[in-house]
Amino acid sequence: MNLLRIEFRKILPYKTVWVILAIYVVLMVLVLNASSGITINGRQLGADAFQLPGVWQRLSFLASFFNLLLGILIIVLVSDEYSFRTLRQQVIDGLSRVEIVLAKFYVILAVAAFSTIFLLLLGLYFSLLYSTDHSVDAFFSQIDHLSYYFVQAVAYMALAMLFAFLIKKSGLAIIAFIAYAKIVEPLVHLRIPDTVDKYMPMKALGSLTPMPGQDLIDQFTTPTEQLTPPWAAVAGLFYIGLFLFLSYSLLKVRDL
């Protein structure tokens, strides 16, 4: 935990971190607010969207789009260590390469915990406001979606960290991260059968927060095959481990 304390010493006074987190919070609230105001067929969407217990799945699906922002935050933090040359200094001062990666992983866990708790608060607030069913069972029966979201956020940020350790420069790393997540892998998905691509990182991570009403859509179109959230969580944990290991390997083989 000493590692996390060191990281907090660096991060808490850093304005960039707060700005990115503030953008995340504001965007989430804006989107939620806007969607609750939409009226379809004379009914406010908010009333449907925030019904318990489905609200947890809808919220985590929505939040999954903002994982990129959290990834960018991690890229900034890691690439800063290169541009300030503080990574090098910290190894000179006694941190091992494992600790360098672990310290950033703890930050990732902290950020994921922050966004998950934020989702929990959002969900509580909007469902109390709109949901008709306020029983304890309704609140907690599907709250496991939040834990799947947590795994997803951690895995996204771990991938972002890997890109930052690989590329070292924030701008390029951000571009590569977004290009991989949103363009390169989806293009690969088109080329290979669902039975295989459902295990690829972006698709497996996406399966952690399935789209609400996907089963309805599947009735009209050929369903795309994807992992169930519990299995996607296993894949997610595997990828987190892999990204951490690759980050460490990069530090191990390269000059700092």
Partner: protein, 298 residues
Amino acid sequence: MAEVLDINSLSKRYAAIQAVNQLSVKVEQGSIYGLLGPNGSGKTTTLGMVLDVIKTTAGTYSWFGQPSSRETKRRVGALLETPNFYPYLTAQKNLEVIADIKGADKANVNRVLQLVGLESRKSSSFKGFSLGMKQRLALAATLLNDPEVLVLDEPTNGLDPEGIAEVRELILRIASEGKTIILASHLLDEVEKVCTHVAVLQRGQLKAEGPVGAILSAKDQILISAPNLPIVTEVLQRLPFIEAFKPEKDTVVLTLKDGYSSTDVNKAMFEAGIVLSQLVVRRKSLEAQFLEIIKSQS
């Protein structure tokens, strides 16, 4: 005396460049060891390797007789190239981060800030510091956990004369507490003034090594000229106290063995029936010596 750092045929190769080639040196406890060489001679690469941030291509090194580890790193305070800090953090916060990493007592933060004269600026952020202040903060950081060894890479680089004097004085003061200091520099004058031992590097190769007095002892040069130079050189060959001589256009440049002076030369020439038309004693500059060391063995 115990060895603090033992470097054994260390090499580093970047794609096409042999940055360090089979370098072996031993640094003894209590010495102020200078790594001297022009820019690009492999000083920083060497320090980077022994500080565990640059991979070695071949060779080994050990600190206090052990491989590099967290324990050995805690006994060493090191500064490599430019001062490395978080620009948005204050001097004090920056040092607190490092104190946490080194496991040093928080009370040391104020002590070292005072030592380098930055106490009044401890709440200013690093990015507003002048180069001299940054360099002093870096020195402060190396002192945080009271290390036995200091590794300093060009510690006076970019400082004004006053800053240079301050840093040198600080280094000597730290050394007087019995600490070992390893200092990389391209400034001869700095190495001569501060160091007890020196290793001269050029293109990654060790050119000379030993106590500063032996390597950089400023031997005087004597210039003589006479109407008939060939006879002069003949006589010089016979004289026992001439260390070396080199005929140039109208003069002969020579150096003497210890304990002899220009008077002996004049006397010997006169005895041989040669009247010198010129006899000049020229203090050899450190730069000239340095170039000589580098030339002589390449």
